[in-house]
Symmetry: C2
Subunit: 226 residues, 2 copies
DNA sequence: TCAAAAGTGTTCCGAATACACCCATGA
DNA sequence: TCATGGGTGTATTCGGAACACTTTTGA
């Protein structure tokens, strides 16, 4: 059996990039500059090069679009329905990335085939190209699941952060408030964090303790958080 | 941008099929009849046809190999490293299937390109072709995770089963024993099961109650089980 | 001295764990 | 009547949830 015996589909990667800005969960979309779905919004992505691993392709697209390296990145799901792309058979391997709000501030690079790139609030999205609404639904499900059972929340935060910042992120993701005392008790009991020497300064209230993730704790580690 | 501008990889599906037989977790392997890796064992799989959805391809391969329809099937992960197949660039979308021991008894169909098919104990496997060891590792991780947090355990059981059978399955997957009273209390408190009219007969001990999964409970539903 | 957010402890309730004996049946 | 696996209840421990006030700082 030869590989050449079979007609081959095209393979792309698409990346759902989340961040938290202005107390909202946001996702990065690009406006397509070419057909199909010209002028519609879609997730950043592109064709997998023939000598490039899937994750490399995802990282390349991510960096082209945001200029950011070192983000949390994991494979999400592969969508390959026959009719998902009007140009022909296109299978897309989707990825899921989280970047922290400081990095998200850096300016977005509109790349080839893209008119502009913009952060959209999850609750206020334009219509999406292809089957990208379905992809997003899946990505949000995964995001909540991961927040509940792993340490990914920290990928939305800078190296040093306060417990209040962390709590705020959980409140945004789960769309509900937590009791401050119970939240702190729970998080500290997990022994993931260590206090840093410094406290945040130049605030007109009691300066909060800054914490950092213990170096041996990997982001994404499975552990019951909430 | 045209699809034809890009060289395309080949795309396959591979299926990790688990069952429980003889009180052991087993996986179905086929012996390859063609190069590469001729005479080595691998997961059942094959090329995705150009007019066939990914899940259809997985179901087709599954049925060709085992003759079984109606199994629990979910997408696992997509492996696409450049050098994973010596023939060239081949991306494989892997699936994860669970079939119950009664169905697993039915005879296996050796299909094209395959010399034989056989159930292997997880703890006693031959060397695997391609990157299939890595795929298996990933599949086992997913299996345990799903057992802990969803109702997939029931896909290893026939429609009617005893609580002892269920407990046995958890003990095999988690490689440890559970207390009978606590296990029953926990499972029954989840309100997933209903007793059936009959009891198992022709056993030389007190006949056990048979239970079935309530019809509104979907297999795979997320819920803390253990 | 005021405004703003930081920080902290106790009680209550429900779930998980540990643990041992009697029951129903066919041989 | 015996062997076999089925079936059941209670006490203890641990973690989650509810709940309000004092502290520290800069303005």
């Amino acid at each position: 059996m030869k590989l050449s015996d079979y007609p081959r589909p095209s393979v792309t990667v698409d990346i759902v990039i989340f961040t938290i800005k202005d107390n909202n969960l946001k996702v990065l979309l690009v406006k397509r500059g070419v057909e199909p779905f010209k002028n519609k919004w879609a997730f950043p992505g592109g064709f997998v090069k023939i000598h490039e691993n899937l994750e490399q392709a995802a990282k390349r697209e991510l960096e082209e679009e945001t200029g950011v390296k070192e983000v949390y990145l994991e494979q999400l799901y592969t969508f390959g329905d026959v009719s998902r792309d009007p140009r022909g058979r296109v299978i897309t391997v989707t990825y899921f990335a989280l970047i922290n709000s400081e990095k998200a501030k850096e300016k977005l690079n509109a790349s080839t085939d893209v008119i502009e790139a913009e952060w959209f609030e999850i609750s206020n999205l334009p219509p999406l190209a292809f089957d990208h609404s379905e992809i997003l639904k899946y990505a949000i499900k995964r995001l909540k699941w991961k927040f509940e059972y792993t340490t990914i929340a920290f990928s939305f935060l800078p190296k040093r952060f306060t417990l209040t910042q962390l709590q705020k992120i959980y409140e945004i993701i789960f769309e509900k408030n937590f009791d401050k005392r119970n939240f702190r008790k729970k998080i500290l009991s997990l022994e993931l964090l260590e206090p840093t020497e410094e406290k945040e300064k130049e605030v007109s209230y009691r300066p909060p303790q800054l914490y950092s993730l213990k170096s041996k704790i990997k982001i994404g580690k499975i552990i019951d958080i909430i």
